[in-house]
């Protein structure tokens, strides 16, 4: 049977699209791995009932909550408008080597290490009228583990003694590995 070359070209194009999608998903982590900066984030103790879903550990990052004094003026005065929107979290390093929130900005900062996040919820702060703490979602909240091997990590995460090593590049970050506090 003769091969229809016009159809074959269509087939090659159709095959390119899945490959582009796969490449698109892997692109940012690969760039962050090659050119990004390593940062260290601390986790908080987490309610064990929701801790381990399927084959990943849920990471409760300390930087997932920002009090109102950490918000930029623009976000502070329009917090409700920014709910469910992307923001940029400028990080600072403390004396123990952990990164914590310096300021939550509406635009990417020109310098410094920062992460892109989505404001995923607000909590009204008592004592200061109309101000909110915000919950931030970075897409760094999961760490996948091999099936049936996550038990120890689960307990460590329960106790809030897990540190998260993140590789970050231009606001994008991915969890490279976990380490037990004081293990290194």
């Amino acid at each position: 049977m003769k091969i229809d070359y016009r159809n074959s070209l269509g087939f090659v194009l159709a095959l390119l699209i899945p490959l582009l999608i796969l490449g698109g998903i892997a692109y940012k982590p690969l760039v962050a791995k090659a050119q990004g900066e390593e940062i260290l984030l601390a986790t908080d103790a987490y309610d064990p009932r929701d801790l381990f879903r399927g084959d990943y550990v849920h990471l409760n990052l300390e930087i997932s909550r920002a009090t109102y004094d950490l918000l930029s003026k623009e976000i502070f005065y329009n917090t409700e408008k920014y709910n469910d929107s992307f923001v940029y979290v400028l990080l600072k390093i403390d004396q123990n080597g952990y990164h914590s929130i310096d300021t939550v900005l509406e635009k990417p900062p020109s310098e410094g290490v920062y992460l892109k996040a989505r404001i995923s919820g607000l909590r009204e702060t008592s004592g200061f009228q109309k101000s909110y703490s915000v919950y931030l979602n970075y897409g760094l909240e999961r760490y996948y583990v091999q099936e049936n091997t996550g038990e120890e990590l689960q307990y460590d995460s329960n106790d809030g003694i897990l540190d998260v090593v993140v590789r970050t590049y231009k606001g994008y970050g991915y969890v490279e590995r976990l380490r037990k506090r004081d293990a290194e």
Binding site: F11, P18, Y174
Partner: protein, 361 residues
């Protein structure tokens, strides 16, 4: 001359018999050619070879996913990426080559490629701990396999792409704004069905469900109530059943389903509380009675789906009214007897002579 489409076994029969008639000189060669040319064999549906090969493809695909997933700490990320890419490319390309001589086996290799592509999405997310909403992965999977369905004109891949988009649609309801990407992809689905599958009514049926999900999502995102969503779906059901079904018969069934499902929601008191008046309970009951009467009348025309909704409505009111008051054993026995009575009625209607296929639907 327009050729008549017949089943492949009937086509073979005509070919063989006309050859026989030519051999015993009842007809000449030209007549035989003209007879055979008046028919064309229907594109083959699912036969057992295809079913076996498809199941085989799915099993191999699942096996590969499981292999990489279970060994993922032992294999390096770049090696895993290579396996995924080579798997997608290799199976698709060898399927394409094999298709020239073994069309069904070749196609099953393409199915494996489709499965590995989906697995690849999830595995790359695992590899780099990417925590996007699970439904987004299904959107990407659907997006990636649609061109293959288009190029190969493959119904199974197209159905699969529709199903993947359905998972995305349901998973993404009321989540982060209006889904424009979903809408764009849905329009492409309609177009592919129109131009590649000649408006296959079953595909249209699936796409209409996807469209209804989008409409419900938009209403929710814009702050509309459940009442509004149910009314819109109910209204579109009416138009499908009474207007659009003139063009496509399956829309009569789908319109009825839309009316029945959204109508069922409208029989609950809670949904009417969105209106600023205190007669929610009464409105729901009146609506329920009218709906029941409508479906009963429709059942008389022999429409089985209407009978189904009559049964559902009776059962819904039975559960609502008696669950709290009756002893549990009595509740289940009577509930079971009601269902058996429904089943009997269904069977009787089906058996009735003279009910056309479209009416039974």
């Amino acid at each position: 001359m327009k050729r008549k489409t017949i089943g492949s076994s009937s086509y073979r029969f005509i070919k063989n018999e006309t050859a026989y008639l030519e051999r015993i000189e009842v007809i000449d060669h030209e007549t035989r050619t003209r007879i055979v040319d008046a028919y064309e064999p229907r594109e083959e549906g699912m036969n057992y070879i295809r079913i076996i090969l498809t199941i085989g493809a799915i099993l191999v695909g699942l096996g590969i996913i499981s292999f990489i997933a279970s060994n993922w700490k032992e294999i390096g990320n770049s090696f895993k990426l290579t396996i995924i890419v080579l798997g997608v490319l290799g199976f698709a390309a060898s399927g394409r080559i094999l298709e020239e001589s073994y069309p069904r086996t070749g196609r099953s290799l393409v199915y494996i490629s489709v499965m590995i592509f989906g697995a690849g999405i999830f595995l790359i997310e695992q590899m780099y701990n990417i925590s996007i909403h699970f439904s987004k992965s299904f959107l990407l999977w659907s997006l990636g396999v649609l061109p293959m369905a288009y190029v190969l004109k493959d119904k199974l891949i197209f159905v699969f792409a529709n199903a993947l988009l359905l998972v995305y649609g349901i998973g993404n309801l009321n989540y982060h704004g209006i889904e424009w990407v979903y809408l764009a992809l849905l329009i492409v689905f309609y177009a592919v069905n129109r131009f590649v599958f000649e408006n296959n009514p079953y595909f249209m049926f699936m796409e209409n469900i996807l469209a209804a999900i989008w409409v419900i999502d938009v209403i929710e995102e814009l702050g509309g109530s459940g009442l509004l969503a149910a009314c819109v779906i109910f209204g579109s059901g009416i138009s499908m059943k009474y207007v659009l079904s003139r063009h496509e018969r399956v829309l009569a069934l789908q319109g009825n389903l839309f009316m029945g499902i959204s109508g069922l929601f409208l029989t609950f008191k809670g949904i009417w509380t969105d209106l600023d008046f205190s007669y929610g309970g009464e409105t729901a009951i009146v609506f329920g009675i009218v709906l029941m009467a409508y479906f009963l009348m429709d059942t008389k025309k022999g429409r089985l789906s209407s009978l189904f909704f009559v049964c559902i409505l009776i059962f819904r009111y039975y559960v609502d009214s008696f669950y709290d008051f009756m002893p549990k054993s009595m509740f289940f026995i009577i509930g079971g007897l009601i269902l058996i009575a429904f089943g009997y009625t269904f069977e009787r209607i089906r058996k009735k002579e003279g009910i056309g296929y479209e009416n039974r639907l």
